[in-house]
Assembly symmetry: C2
Homo-oligomer: 351 residues x 2
């Protein structure tokens, strides 16, 4: 998005319609299913013989993000990614988004342009059309609500409830990194509060910061599985932490699970940093959220196709429901797997 | 929605997933196009040969509603209606909604149940399916973000940009009532602040309060037009005030307009109450928002079909663009029609 020569433009001067016009002037459309984008009472989409997949997420300042260390452009990017991830988790391709934002008058036009430029960068990368939304004022913080829309052939949809006994449990990428990125940012924020002259110590932590601030959605995994001819029996994206997602998938599929601790993919930097913070790396991957990886199950007959796939790890297998939800630890002991959202994590994770 | 025997249940005890499960247990589905509702990463919709219409609105406590006088059940109902209205304005039928809410811990489970019961009442009345959403915490106020999805045959869609010279300009129902309802509620709030022992004086104002607190979307108008064989050339819903909507419709259609002040439908109670408040009734209808009526244009050849239609008023006609946007006042003088959103209205409307 280009910038005008307006400096610190007041949103009140521009008005709601002026703001919308200003922000939407650089929108490009990539999808033939977009019949009508912004500018009417509603957007029009035509997916022909595909089924329409639709998901929504709301992000609240102070709850989901902290503007003291999150750049607005990254926030815009991430807020789109979070929603696209849900569409990929249905084995569908995202095609459109609607974006609603509520903002107080402490935001200048330039700040909103930054936010939008991040959203449009994500749209460009994933070839998704921004087709509508709502812009309004807020009395305090920034609120971002995004709805993502995708298309998928009926026979390709992967629900959460299709996992079967003896299926392999797989996850893409590595886990716990976004959570450790958050820990670093929170630490530097505290340091800065105590002594504003100190520069933040983020050296060598780029990977973790990127996992937290600028995550990607795993379109590549969906495309890979498709190209090697694997359709997962069940799939979910990892937004709340591995254990919570495994439990969702298994309870909806009415099956049990055996997860192998030693198989959980944890990047070495995540591991070292967890140790530095006196945290258990496994617990960070089980309960730390926001990794936006894909967790899925496949028939055991797919093992040969899968075993050499880049960036997919087999971490366990599905069992009979009666066996329950278990993690086999590195030492061989069996632990019951429990859900633990990342909100309650900070208190419990410290050893 | 039925109530449990839990009294003042704390949301923290229930947790996000518990809350979602609790709230969604009473959802009924009415639409065959709903393939998968709540419970997975995304909802699945299949509109077959219909095009999919989609719109979103965000409502912020303190900006769009004031919980000191808005009952939560009405708020839930209205927040759905606002979105359905956008779908009808495309000449489409709404079929699904997604609901995101962010709320602080000052809300008890019972309060959220009230809000949801209003949403589900609107869903039931309009036969719309609640298929997904997001529930999260907020640091301060209540935030409601709703996305509505509908279906329409390609040839039936009415955009804002189809108005042609000599078309008749029509509006459903009457205007300014929701705005006067708001004035009454605001007045009683001020009185209550000064003297909490005084009972609010709302007698005889039921119609205006209902227009503000529990509006309806004009499905009946869409159905009537369809049954008498009229397809509007352009249509928009009246959410921001008549003048602002006329300007949207005319600027997008690249036409001018002549609006007749004496034709603007204003209910007698709205008229009297405006006078009581020392406000100009015409200005209240032009600039007062939230009426959720439909403003549309039709070919002049449809006049015979239209002239006896219940609850539709011809208020003007479309002219050449060069003639501009004009209102012919009751005394015959010509005024340029200007946009004036209802946010800025309070300051300017007082005579």
């Amino acid at each position: 998005m280009e910038f005008d020569n307006t400096s610190d433009t007041n949103l009140a001067e521009l008005g709601e319609f002026g703001l919308i016009k200003h922000l939407t002037q650089h929108i490009e459309l990539y999808q033939s299913s977009t019949i009508k984008g912004v500018g009417d009472d509603a957007a029009i989409i035509f997916n022909e013989d595909l089924q329409t997949v639709i998901s929504t997420d709301i992000l609240i300042e102070g709850v989901h993000f902290d503007l003291t260390y999150v750049p607005l452009r990254h926030l815009g990017y991430k807020s789109v990614i979070v929603n696209l991830s849900d569409i990929y988790a249905m084995n569908a391709q995202p095609k459109q988004i609607l974006v609603s934002i509520a903002l107080s008058n402490r935001f200048k036009l330039e700040a909103i342009e930054e936010l939008y430029s991040g959203m449009l960068a994500a749209c460009k990368k994933y070839k998704v059309d921004l087709v509508g939304g709502d812009t309004t004022s807020s009395l305090s913080g920034l609120v971002i609500s995004i709805t993502a829309i995708g298309g998928v052939k009926k026979e390709d949809i992967t629900y959460r409830n299709g996992a079967k006994e003896s299926n392999l449990l797989c996850v893409s990428g590595d886990l716990g990194g976004a959570y450790m990125g958050l820990q670093i940012l929170e630490r530097e924020k505290s340091v800065f509060k105590e002594n504003p002259k100190l520069q933040p110590d983020l050296e060598g932590k780029d990977y973790l910061l990127e996992r937290q601030l600028k995550p990607e959605a795993r379109k590549d995994i969906i495309d890979t599985l498709n190209s090697i001819g694997i359709k997962p029996t069940a799939m979910i994206d990892v937004s709340d932490g591995l254990s919570s997602e495994i439990l969702h998938l298994c309870s909806q599929s009415e099956v049990g699970v055996e997860l192998y601790e030693e198989k959980i993919p944890i990047d070495s930097l995540t591991y070292e940093t967890a140790r530095e913070f006196n945290l258990d790396p496994t617990l960070c991957s089980l309960s730390g959220g926001e990794d936006y990886e894909l967790l899925f199950t496949v028939d055991i007959s797919e093992y040969e196709k899968l075993k050499n796939s880049m960036d997919i790890t087999i971490i366990g297998h599905i069992t009979d429901k009666a066996k329950g939800y278990n993690m086999i630890s590195k030492s061989g002991t069996v632990h019951e797997l429990k859900a633990q959202g990342w909100n309650s994590l900070l208190k419990k994770i410290r050893k």
